[in-house]
């Protein structure tokens, strides 16, 4: 147990070190001058330039520069945005929760819809119901996410006018950002009609969440179905039948638990897809999240923002992946470390 925890901690630290080394290298790889990429401040004259270089130790050896860079990261001095001039830490910390919020709701839909349908389809394998579900999920899985989002906008926002087109909340509501998570912020805010604001936020949430969730749900349905079929073919299920257990008992005691175990690591991989899709969908719905922010940054060639944005997103993803991996290892110690399942 302690051994496993220790291993994962070392892995975690090593990965973060590799990621921050990568973001440090970006200072020299991006086209602008290193000092601009690092600080986001354009020096006005050579005196200021030299002062900045000395302040950020860019005149010393690379290893010392990197060490200093890490110190700066930990002390919260992430530099400034080249375009807006705002401190990057504030910008990232307001944009990141919006994405996390969106992805969490999408992931909830994926799990709550995908796994039950996948189980049903797996239990009824090779029947008409299974065939219908399977072909539907293959179809939905193949729809490109940006096209789906555009279709949703065209149908539900422009044609019928049922749902709002962009943003997180109607501009009439003035909600101060405290945690960055909108629903909590609405609850915390004073002198706002809470139920109206909640309803508006919910309406804004529907389309982006659905367009992200559809594709991952289809993937999870397929994965779950395959896993259930594989478990049903195992000898211990036959043994359980021979012992006279009812179908319900077999499903809940034996099939479900064993089928869900190999799904977990694949779920971690789905999270990456989900976040990529969230980043694309955010730009279409003008959702003020990290994906939209990063893509605006690349359009404007805001190099210091790109460096920090890359570090923030990849750290988030790595934390999620490693903790799911760890969780999986802890609840299932018998498993071989890198066992993979098929769809």
């Amino acid at each position: 147990m302690i051994n496993i925890l220790l291993r994962y901690t070392i892995l975690f630290v090593l990965t973060l070190l590799a990621l921050s080394a990568l973001s440090f290298t970006l200072i020299y790889l991006f086209p602008a001058e290193p000092i601009i990429n690092l600080t986001g401040i354009t020096p006005q004259n050579s005196i200021q330039h030299d002062a900045l270089v000395r302040q950020y130790r860019l005149d010393s050896a690379y290893l010392i520069q990197f060490w200093h860079y890490l110190e700066q990261l930990f002390s919260g001095n992430w530099g400034y945005s080249l375009i807006s001039g705002q401190p990057l830490k504030e910008e990232v910390l307001t944009a990141l929760p919006a994405t996390v919020e969106l992805s969490t709701y999408a992931m909830m839909i994926v799990i709550l819809v995908g796994i039950p349908i996948g189980c049903y389809s797996g239990l009824r394998a090779y029947t008409n119901a299974d065939f219908t579900i399977n072909s539907l999920s293959v179809t939905v899985y193949s729809v490109p996410v940006f096209w789906l989002a555009v279709l949703f906008i065209l149908t539900f926002s422009l044609q019928f006018g049922w749902l709002p087109l962009s943003g997180r909340l109607n501009l009439l509501f003035d909600i101060p950002s405290q945690t960055g998570f909108l629903f909590i912020d609405i609850l915390l805010a004073d002198d706002v009609d809470t139920s109206l604001a909640m309803r508006d936020a919910f309406l804004h949430l529907i389309l982006p969440t659905l367009s992200i969730a559809c594709i991952s749900t289809a993937a999870i349905i397929r994965i779950t179905r395959r896993s259930i079929i594989d478990v049903l073919n195992k000898p211990y299920i036959t043994a359980a039948k021979a012992r006279g257990l009812s179908n319900r008992q077999i499903f809940f005691r034996h099939v479900l638990r064993n089928a869900l175990l190999p799904i977990l690591p694949l779920m971690a991989m789905q999270i990456t897809t989900l976040i990529t899709n969230a980043m694309i969908v955010e730009t279409l719905f003008s959702w003020p999240g990290i994906g939209n922010w990063l893509i605006q940054a690349i359009y404007q060639r805001d190099y210091s923002a790109l460096r920090i944005g890359m570090l923030a997103v990849s750290t988030l993803v790595v934390i999620i992946t490693i903790s799911i991996d760890l969780f999986n290892r802890l609840i299932d110690p018998s498993r071989e470390k890198f066992e993979s399942v098929t769809i």
Partner: protein
């Protein structure tokens, strides 16, 4: 008969023929294969079959409706876009660009991924642990993020987006190859080759690779569908292929500007990407279940 044969059958179908037999029995997979072959045809012969030059701007006929529309004409099968370019020709060239680059990207990623994965699978001890864990963690970084960074360093363009997607696909191939090689190395036939004095390269080339090809084909179709979606997504976000180049995602993004006037400019490129990914997925699925049936029999 003087012929000496160990088997009673006259003809013994090879493993690939077995797979093809199983694959053929699924009609859906065959339809998928037909559509996929159509896209392959477009990819190779687009210049020969397109009625117009995809870049030719005919200002006389802007936003002509598709031929099945009451206002449309048969001269432009899918209508024209905001600059009067024939959409049908653009879609065909778009399939060429999108599908062709995806195929190239997958082949490069496969070659690199398999070589690194094999080395990682044959390694053992601390070295392998570090390599494997780091790779697994880096596999989690989203494609779009890698693409954004590469575009930041090199500038936008189709070739740069290809590099980004190759980089993003490699870890998956490494992962699967490593798992496979590690499982095979424990088996007896590898032990036998080792006792015969085969070195690691020979073991890989003569023993593991022939067994691995099927896994690679299945993984390749999976990676191909991801590559098509990613390349068109980058084109759509204006980070990949740049406007005059007919790339399906870029065509879709251009159609977005006139989407309310001429919905077919959004619908048709989207359907083309969708059909391409769908056919790849269906063929991949058919192949996978054919292989599963063959092995289980």
């Amino acid at each position: 008969m003087s012929r000496f044969s160990l088997y009673e059958d006259e003809i013994r179908p090879s493993p690939w023929q077995h797979t093809w037999r199983e694959f053929k029995s699924s009609h859906v997979a065959l339809v998928g294969l037909a559509i996929l072959l159509l896209f392959v045809f477009f990819a190779f012969f687009a210049p020969l079959v397109t009625p117009y030059d995809p870049l030719f701007q005919n200002t006389e006929s802007i936003l002509v409706a598709p031929s099945w529309h009451p206002n449309g004409s048969i001269t432009h099968l899918f209508g024209t876009d905001a600059l009067g370019r024939d959409l049908f020709s653009r879609i065909m060239y778009g399939c060429r660009v999108t599908f062709g680059t995806s195929l190239l990207v997958v082949i490069i990623a496969m070659a690199v991924g398999v070589s690194i994965g094999t080395i990682a699978g044959m390694l053992s001890g601390v070295r392998s642990s570090v390599v494997n864990h780091l790779l697994d963690a880096l596999m989690a970084i989203p494609t779009l993020l890698i693409a954004i960074i590469i575009v930041g360093i090199l500038g936008s363009g189709l070739v740069n987006s290809m590099w980004a997607i190759t980089l993003a696909l490699i870890p998956q191939f490494i992962h699967h190859t490593r798992t496979f090689v590690r499982a095979e190395m424990k088996k007896d036939y590898i032990q036998a080759s080792t006792l015969d004095g085969a070195n690691r390269l020979q073991i890989f080339y003569y023993s593991i690779l022939p067994n691995m090809i099927e896994m690679l084909v299945v993984q390749g179709t999976l990676a191909l569908s991801i590559a098509v979606i990613d390349i068109s997504a980058l084109g759509f976000l204006n980070l990949g292929a740049q406007p005059p180049l007919p790339e399906l995602g870029a065509i879709l993004a251009a159609g977005l500007d006139v989407g309310y006037l001429s919905p077919w400019n959004i619908a048709i490129p989207g359907i083309a990407i969708f059909l391409m990914v769908l056919s790849i997925t269906v063929v991949g699925d058919g192949l996978r279940s054919a292989l599963r049936k063959r092995v289980n029999r």
